[in-house]
């Protein structure tokens, strides 16, 4: 539904990702007519899509990261569409059942948003098999795309 990340790199407790948001996404056409802006909530979603896999990949056991809290969020400047967005995340806290990442979204070298995202880290329930397989395939393609650049 909202898979706009194209490439990702995870190194230690940090991740970087690149997303491209086109100007012709139907769901964004009324935000705002003639002056399309990426809603801040969707910017947070992209930051979460970067931080979630980072937290999942840095733990001892396989986990499923579910966004639970958005803390200290600031939207520093609007993001007109289309936009090429650089995303970054750093794990600042890891507990057995939760994790915190500091994240930023940058466009053309200018930070547009930053937030601290708190995730619930849940055991990988076999009932979510299809979702987990899709997540694994998506992350693998993002990592491969970064390697290929």
């Amino acid at each position: 539904m909202f898979e706009l990340i194209e490439a990702m790199r995870i190194e230690g407790v940090c991740a970087e990702a690149r997303a491209r948001v086109p100007a012709d996404l139907p769901q964004l056409q009324d935000h705002f007519p003639g002056a399309l802006l990426l809603p801040g909530t969707l910017l947070i979603e992209l930051m979460a899509q970067t931080a979630g896999p980072l937290l999942e990949e840095t733990g001892d056991a396989p986990r499923w990261a579910v966004l639970g809290l958005v803390r200290h969020a600031s939207f520093l400047a609007p993001t007109p569409l289309p936009a090429a967005i650089e995303l970054s995340a750093e794990v600042v806290r890891r507990e057995p059942s939760s994790g915190v990442a500091r994240t930023e979204a940058t466009v053309e070298g200018e930070v547009r948003a930053r937030a601290e995202l708190v995730f619930s880290l849940q055991p990988r329930d076999p009932a979510w098999g299809a979702a987990i397989a899709a997540r694994d395939a998506r992350l693998a393609s993002w990592l491969a795309a970064w390697e290929g650049e």
Partner: protein, 133 residues
């Protein structure tokens, strides 16, 4: 844990209000149970603990309440392999959370559910116990 001083307790009351976006007129008492009286969720608790950490400059790692409840009790005497507290472990938890009405505690309490039984004052006591650690 000794009783918290009034300044710490008042600070925690304010942080509970901030966490739930309650106005100043909404009563929050020391003996209120976070989950039962204020409808806390596990994420609300995490949010509150982060605020407490920032306010007092302390760290409260996951499992702190269980560790305090366990005290010097050997792990096997505190909880079973399924994570459910033993009768002795339950007794120690009830001693630690002495201002929680005894009838609130079910017979079987899982280690991960301990924060459900905290009062506002228990969080203040927890904050004070973590100072200097």
């Amino acid at each position: 844990m000794p009783e918290p001083d009034s300044e710490t307790l008042q600070a925690v009351v304010e942080l509970v209000r901030e966490t739930l976006a309650l106005d100043a007129e909404t009563p929050v008492a020391a003996t209120d149970l976070l989950f039962y009286d204020h409808g806390f969720t596990s994420m609300d608790l995490l949010d509150l603990l982060f605020r407490v950490e920032e306010r007092f400059g302390i760290k409260i790692p996951e499992g702190t309440l269980a560790a305090l409840s366990q005290g010097n009790l050997p792990p096997a005497e505190f909880q079973g392999e399924d994570g459910v507290l033993t009768p002795r472990g339950r007794e120690q938890l009830m001693g630690l959370l002495h201002d929680t009405p005894p009838e609130t505690f079910p017979e079987r309490i899982h280690r991960q559910a301990l924060p459900r039984y905290c009062t506002v004052a228990a969080i203040a006591r927890l904050a004070e116990s973590r100072r200097g650690t």
